[in-house]
Subunit: 334 residues, 2 copies
Amino acid sequence: MTNTTMKDVAEKAGVSTATVSRVINRADNVNPELRKKVMRVIEELDYKPNQLARSLKSSETNTIAFISSDMSNPFFIRIAKKVEEAVRKNNYTIVIGSTEDKPEIELEYLKLLYEKRVDGIVISSTGENEDYLKDLSKKIPVICVDRRPQKNNLNSVCVDKEKATYEAVNFLTERKHQKIALVTGAKKIITNYDRYVGYTKGIYDNNVALNSDYIKFGQFSFEFGKNSLLELLALKEKPTAVIAGNSFIAAGILLVAREKNINIPDDLSLISFGNISNSQLITPSLTYIDEKVDEIGEKASNLLLSNLNNKKSEIKHIKIKTKINKGNSAAVLE
Amino acid sequence: MTNTTMKDVAEKAGVSTATVSRVINRADNVNPELRKKVMRVIEELDYKPNQLARSLKSSETNTIAFISSDMSNPFFIRIAKKVEEAVRKNNYTIVIGSTEDKPEIELEYLKLLYEKRVDGIVISSTGENEDYLKDLSKKIPVICVDRRPQKNNLNSVCVDKEKATYEAVNFLTERKHQKIALVTGAKKIITNYDRYVGYTKGIYDNNVALNSDYIKFGQFSFEFGKNSLLELLALKEKPTAVIAGNSFIAAGILLVAREKNINIPDDLSLISFGNISNSQLITPSLTYIDEKVDEIGEKASNLLLSNLNNKKSEIKHIKIKTKINKGNSAAVLE
DNA sequence: CTGTTAGCGCTTTCAT
DNA sequence: ATGAAAGCGCTAACAG
């Protein structure tokens, strides 16, 4: 049960493998007669070219990789889906990897993928393998999505989280809030640093007192959202508004609020990065920062494809503009 | 900027490529001195073996594929995630593809993946390329998940949708329901046939009148759930209960019910295949058929891995047992 | 227009 | 224990 090779086809058709190769690759310089004959034999033998061999010659695998912390996170999967669609049209195949935000796993993946000679990488990185990524980017296109590169100059398509958070703070202060909390993911993730900076700038510019109890770094999870709100509610000076770093956290906050009979938005205002799933069925509707996920995916695909075709493209940094989508979870403070 | 090859290493270390290869592959029969030397050169040159070349020799790519209709569907992505985790530990990489349930796209993917010589395939198939899949399965392991193979004998890990639907009907008739609707995905998808059969058997065995208006085939989508309920509500004899083929459909039904002031479960009972996202935040909590998604993923991974190691494994059909998880969306009819 | 040949980077007999 | 050489399946000069 061994695979049919080009040689088999060549022999049966009474031609050389070069001719078969020409037929396969639609080279024009081959006799119509022969071509037909070869085609027929290919049919008969159900011959399928071995892309491995092709790739070895061309050093192109027509494969790209998408690495994120967790491919089951709707945020990442939506980006990945866009990338998949775009590259599929260009005959690429996409391999995915989840790192659980562990730098070791990320590095392992990167090495493996490089050894497998993927043609390009789209990554939302832990940020701890940036030097390696930079090296990689000398060989193949590397596109950072969502999480911007820190030290190194790498292609990126990211939301300006700093600005978005800053605007969220403004949005809340305009509505008379002074006690504003920020609940977000791990401190070491660059986007959380950006949120932090945007937050503190907003606090400063609005002449609000900075209260470190209101800033919570943890995980982008439902559980962390729940626990954080519990902690915030235990403070003497409870916040009147919370900015949630992602929709999982927002969901946790919504749940605890409901359990504790805290009315949102009357007792507590909430703004989230991104909307939650099944939001149509959940009250209140969230006031959220629209991160334009599909746009991230599209821009990233375009950047990737142009880099794939064009070895010498310049490095680009694309910033996606966010927009606050008004729901009913943030109100004017009485 | 060409890649360092084994030859470079060999030359710099003053040995043959054979020796380098032996060092890389931890062959024992190599002089410790030489080994050290080679290792050092590998470090210095930052040499990375080209897996493409390796694969060409070994005809193993250490890559498996996961094909489903839509990788952004939480149901499939959860299975895929499990598979990813399992195979990663065995040094496999996973490529994914979404077919949108279009047989052409599916076939295109299958051909491409075969040409790329993936080592195995996990697929939730449209069902229309089964002969091709059967052929494929002679070369590499093929595992069908969720959607069982129809004509051909292929490995499978599936939920018994027929039985699950039958039990859902029983569950409802026990609660005095006689007018039970079934709203599910496309007719041509085998799982919907199974649901249909389970439904009709349940209707028959419970001596309930079969009403074809109560059976709706369409898409596994929110929209279809909404539209279906609207249609059902327009009937003279409105159903008192609905079985939703998946959670997207259930969500659509919940929304329309809410908009139309239909109380679930008082005015209408609802049972769904699978729970909806953020269910903790949604009232009523669903009574749903737990499809044991993680178990599907685990069993599929195990089956795949054992087939990967063991070329001559027998074909297996694994049935996952479902369980009705009681929430508050299905009540006794007054 | 077609075939011969070398070679992509690696592994693996087979000698030595 | 090590190296020479063949070959995995394909492509691309280069001849003819």
